[in-house]
Amino acid sequence: MANILQTSFLPSTSSLRRTPISGSKGKSQVLQVKAKIREIFMPALSSTMTEGKIVSWMKSEGDKLSKGESVVVVESDKADMDVESFHEGFLAAIMVEEGGVAPVGSAIALLAETEDEIAEAKAKAKSQSSSSSSSSSQKAVEEQPKQIEEAAPDVPAASSVAAAPAVLAPKTVALGSAVHPASEGGKRIVASPYAKKLAKELKVDLGTVVGTGPMGRIVAKDVEAAAVAVVGTVAASPAKPAPVAPGIELGTVVPFTTMQGAVSRNMVESLSVPTFRVGYTITTNALDALYKKIKSKGVTMTALLAKATALALAQHPVVNSCCRDGNSFTYNSSINIAVAVAIDGGLITPVLKDADKVDIYTLSRKWKELVDKARAKQLQPHEYNTGTFTLSNLGMFGVDRFDAILPPGTGAIMAVGASQPTVVASKDGRIGMKNQMQVNVTADHRVIYGADLAAFLQTLAKIVEDPKDLTF
């Protein structure tokens, strides 16, 4: 169940910032401060004021300040006030940007006495902000839910918007091209205003994001997906020691890590999709035999399953579709099978692109490459966030059946159990032993109906039970 979480769309800026937490508690050093670099503090502008919001910086970094000159406008609980500098010098580093909130008494900027000290002050500002995040990890953790909360209300709004009728893609089953005509072959990035805003906020490079909006435009959820992916790949590795805490103190309340927060939110979001499940038992003797035969050529069971699934999907495009706005289908132009893989501190879903078209040997090589990359946290966004159908296999643990949660933004996910020798009564009245596995598909009932899944599973069973097509 937990293995589909990778595709969660979730902003998380703080992942990078959190990384120095690892055991640096002792290091949370008190900074050495030379008298020449002074701090500008958030002043207490009224007796009731506990924190202030920076309305605007009237000076920018590097500007010269004279004594008594207004530097910044601060919004308190009562009014906007100008804050003046008590000293001459240069505004070296702004530590709280416009719109930011700082508690009374905390440093909001550094003032350097001479121009030469600006660089030094800047370095100090940097170390200070990182040390503050490590020394007060509690606070950093507290901030996260807030950020997530802020982003949350926007998502349903964006997804509930009806597209303008005039600009809707033709309603035929035409497969939309993923290349934006305006992007001039990738030279230009076409992203919606909110996507741009989010990218800036989440520090996502739009150049690496694959757009799924109209005509390949990058929309907010693409950026969110990319941001989550970055969390999965980048942040998971240095955070390694953190989750493997030696002793879990029972009875304590532990705040979510970024990843857990992401997973949590994504899971909750999945509740807005009306899903249902259809299970099927498939005999795998023929597949097992085939696997044995071509195993030596580097073919993996995962690749075989992905291939079989892709071939079945090719006959049932609706199961490969998805519903993004609650008003329309998107028939995906290619069959990209995402396969959940557990990695340290999380999981990721490398994507086998065009699994229906690529031959089994190439697919197997590709799979090996993806898994290696995933372990090395080197997957590129397009290698893990372009899946159109997800496979999750817990068979290796002996799990015989389970149920998967549909990753938001896709139409269906298939949970594959272990293939086990089973006593089966055959039609001719005999009792025999057959290897059977149970699969269970979870799908979005807005676009995929029971009969669709049933037909798809029947096709899949046929392919698996007579797997000659898998190796052509």
Binding site: V55, G99, L111, P153, S160, V161, A164, V167, M215
Partner: protein, 571 residues
């Protein structure tokens, strides 16, 4: 070790006044409690992006009663008339004039070629307020933070586009029938057809394909209004490239809409569209958004209305070419740098709304029959709204009010001008003080203003040699605003500390549009700060924001006060 102590001090921003030691000028008592002042207006047609560019040009009080000598050229005016007053155009301006004319006992007719109510009622202020009412509620319901702070729980808010569109349409029909009925009830004749001036005091009207009727009137008011202005190069198809006329029908809610122009219209629509889930890109030719507003208000508005919303913007650019979506291609917008004229960018969006202001609707009015030349479509008028002909002479008995004269393109300004004209033709000289006409932008929260902006006031002060002071109050300190959990906002007063004259008031905050009238009435009646500050406001109400604003102004003690009757009154 932190060896540093706090290096900052604070100076309260609100309430500061530029205390000057200039000798106080001898103050004349506010003698004139009528609408006072003679103002001549000069605007471009950025009227709706706010018309405060150069509002103050004073002319001398002497009212020259020049009468056009060219009258003979156009035939002899009739001796007896069908009507005392004919108004061409039944918009808000014409309606206001008609009602006042009836009150003054004039036999009045109004000619309308389209629907009664004009732009405001049918394609402007009225339906847009319906959409904005919806957007305000959506915004509130969607703001989890806001709801939580109030202790409310609301499950996902949604809307039905057709339902919203119907609300706007129903409101327009209702107001339209109200207007029609009010005129009919008072005995105003509604003549259907397009009106044309054929000579002095003579108008013809008729529907296309029907014989024209000719009617005569002692006085004629042109009130034909305006239409959305579409710059050349922009192809409007009504579906994906639209003007406010189409947008108000809300036939679609695009995922991504570009709004060309960040004045009132653009800003209000950005509020509607973002509340309904669209993302918006503003395209503004000037270097900053909301160019018509007081800079400080504009900055705050940007912080609240633009930055946190799903809006981005391009400033300092012209949209030279906009092609509607077709054949599966999106709307394309070509941008050039406003200064260098070099191509800058191409945007591809789902829809584009052209909100670049409005152009006067004066074609076919027959102005050539009486030797009047329009200026960029606007009918030239003097400060009494009397039409000026090509030779600079006043055309007798012919007036033009509202958007068609371009002085101040606001519905209520048109109505006020109409009333002013009726006052004149019924024998009472009257000049409307445009500086007392408030304007409002109905975003959430609202923006409103009256009089001068701070830069305009400072410019005027420099020229005329007086001091200007500014006082400000925040909505954060207002009980009612806090009770509504809507503490974001600012009220700003620009005034003369020497005599307490109010030069301008700008409000950004909850119900700002309703709050401005205390200030606009004070300006219209010539009330000074030292007097109005003693007026009592109910507590707790939003109006206390203005109360506090007036009280925080520092008027010199030497300024004379209009002493109110201080005798006790038994109640």
């Amino acid at each position: 070790m932190h060896s540093i102590c706090s290096q900052a001090t604070a100076v309260p921003r609100s309430n500061f006044a530029f205390d000057s030691h200039a000798p106080a000028l001898p103050i004349s008592k506010p003698i004139n409690l009528r609408f006072c002042g003679l103002r001549k207006e000069a605007f471009g047609f950025s009227g709706l992006t706010h018309s405060c560019s150069s509002r103050v040009r004073f002319t001398s009080r002497g009212h020259s009663k020049r009468i056009s000598a060219s009258a003979e050229n156009n035939g002899t005016p009739p001796k007896s008339f069908d009507y005392d007053l004919i108004i061409i155009g039944a918009g808000v301006g014409g309606h206001g004039a008609a009602l006042h004319a009836v009150e003054k006992g004039l036999k009045t007719a109004i000619i309308e070629g389209d629907v009664v109510g004009g732009t405001c009622v049918n394609r402007g202020c009225v339906p847009s307020k319906a959409l904005l009412a919806v957007s305000g509620k959506m915004r509130e319901l969607q703001s989890e933070h806001h709801m939580k702070a109030l202790g409310l729980q609301v499950s996902a808010a949604g809307y039905d586009r057709q339902g919203v569109a119907d609300h706007a349409n129903n409101l327009a029909s209702k107001i339209r029938s109200n207007l029609t009925n009010s005129m009919k009830a008072l005995g105003v004749d509604i003549l259907t057809g397009f009106g044309t001036v054929v000579g002095p005091q003579k108008v013809k009207y008729g529907k296309v394909g029907f014989p024209d009727n000719i009617v005569t009137a002692k006085d004629i008011i042109i009130a034909t209004g305006s239409v959305p202005f579409v710059p050349k190069g922009i192809e409007v198809d009504g579906k994906t490239v639209i003007t406010s006329d189409h947008a108000l029908k809300l036939e679609s809610v695009p995922d991504w809409i570009a709004i060309v122009g960040s004045g009132y219209i653009g800003l209000e629509f950005s509020d509607v569209y973002t509340a309904l889930g669209s993302e918006v890109t503003f395209i503004e030719a000037l270097d900053q958004l909301m160019p018509g507003f007081d800079p400080e208000i504009g900055k705050l508005a940007q912080r609240v209305l633009i930055n946190p919303r799903k809006i981005d913007y391009h400033t300092g650019v012209f949209a030279t070419k906009i092609t509607p979506a077709k054949d599966g291609k999106p709307v394309t917008i070509e941008l050039i740098d406003a200064k260098t004229k070099e191509p800058k960018d191409t945007l591809e969006v789902d829809a584009a709304l052209i909100a670049t202001g409005r152009a006067p609707f004066t074609n076919g009015l027959g102005l050539e029959n009486i030797n009047v030349e329009t200026q960029r479509g606007f009918v030239p008028v003097d400060e009494r709204m009397q039409v000026i002909d090509a030779n600079g002479n006043l055309v007798p008995h012919l007036y033009c009010i509202g958007d068609a004269n371009g002085k101040m393109m606001l519905a209520h300004a048109a109505s006020a001008q109409g009333i002013s004209v009726v006052e004149q033709v019924t024998g009472r000289d009257h000049v409307l003080n445009h500086l007392s006409i408030p304007a409002a932008c109905f975003t959430h929260p609202e923006i409103s203003m009256v009089g001068l902006t701070e830069p305009q006031a400072r410019e005027k002060a420099e020229k005329e040699g007086f001091e200007v002071s500014v006082a400000k109050t925040s909505f954060k300190a207002n009980t009612k605003a806090l009770a509504e959990n809507e503490g974001e906002g600012l009220a700003k007063l620009i005034y003369r500390p020497d005599n307490g004259e109010i030069l301008g008031v700008h409000i950004f905050g909850l119900h700002a549009a309703d709050l401005i009238h205390e200030a606009s009435n004070a300006i219209a009646l010539g009330t000074r700060i030292q007097d109005i500050k003693f007026a009592v406001h109910a507590h707790p109400t939003l109006s206390e924001v203005l109360d506090e604003l007036f009280k925080s102004a520092k008027v010199k003690a030497t300024a004379s006060s209009h002493v109110p009757v201080s005798e006790p009154v038994a109640v």
